[in-house]
Amino acid sequence: MNTVSPDLDRRFRDAAAQEGLLDVAYDLVDSPIGSLLVATSPRGLCRISYDADPEREVEQLAGAFGIRVLRSPKPIDAARRELDEYFEGKRHSFDLPVDVALLADFNRRVLRELARVPYGEVVTYGELAARAARPRAARAVGMVMNRNPLPIVLPCHRVIGANGKLTGYAGGLERKETLLRLEGAIL
């Protein structure tokens, strides 16, 4: 048959990444909370999406990072390994470089503070706002969490309401609960 074999397809996708020709490489990663679309730019991890519609996601990645977007598993291997370890409870922090260069200053500052919230702990939106030097910006912090491009790795699931309620999660409250339970932050 004159069709592209999975092996040939894979070799091209590997070579494209190997030669440094991609603006974004992405792949799907299985996890206990569903399939994740994970993407990386040459600078670092740039997207983790729940329930991704790959076609739409690819368009968005191309719009943000450049037209050369290709599904290519190899550049995602490190992220896949760290996520696997995290879900097995063996990893408490991620060592992956992240690419948040395109985000607004405020978002970057909030996400930088978010990254410091330790495994197994939670903060309120207000506390996180205060740590980002904008004590009255709890709602704005909520928006930043909602648009977090790298959930799990940048742990927006560790941010909860002042009343102790989980409040909201872009991936759905069930996932937030699962992550917090995995980390032992709730019983």
Partner: protein, 150 residues
């Protein structure tokens, strides 16, 4: 038409480009040529200004690589020299000459006379059929002749 993300371009064209390369080169050599075709396309992709004629573009790259592959000496084959008399390959001269033609005619002329594709392949590359490809090629040739006479 705006340029689609490369993933979509690759998904849309990989099967027919591979089938085309198998017809030209045989299965074994087609695999290397396939990889080279899409790597070359990937290198040039950000320079494209729009998403039109992408299929013909992909065929043009694949044809060029198939020609190069044919020229490459192999241990088991004594291949004839394909270059024209003044040392420039036929397709390079034609591409230059045909620059002024409308895109469809240009692609048809270059693919037919520069790369020696048959009309059904050209029809596929242009998103039409063999008859339309033949008509586009002869319209292009007529136009080139008129220009030469002027």
């Amino acid at each position: 038409m705006s340029l689609p993300p490369f993933e979509r371009f690759y998904e849309q064209h990989r099967e027919e480009i591979f089938a085309f390369l198998v017809r030209r080169l045989g299965r074994d050599r087609a695999e290397d040529a396939f990889q080279e075709t899409f790597l070359r396309a990937l290198r040039a992709y950000p320079k494209l200004r729009h998403g039109e004629h992408l299929r013909a573009w992909a065929y043009t790259i694949a044809s060029r690589i198939a020609v190069d592959e044919h020229r490459r000496p192999r241990a088991d084959a004594d291949l004839p020299e394909l270059e024209s008399l003044d040392g420039r390959p036929a397709f390079a001269q034609l591409e230059h000459l045909a620059d002024q033609l409308p895109p469809t005619e240009r692609a048809a002329v270059v693919l037919r006379y520069g790369y020696d594709l048959d009309y059904s392949d050209i029809g596929a590359a242009l998103g039409s059929n063999a008859t339309a490809a033949r008509q586009a090629a002869s319209a292009g040739i007529r136009r080139l002749r008129q220009k030469e006479l002027r």
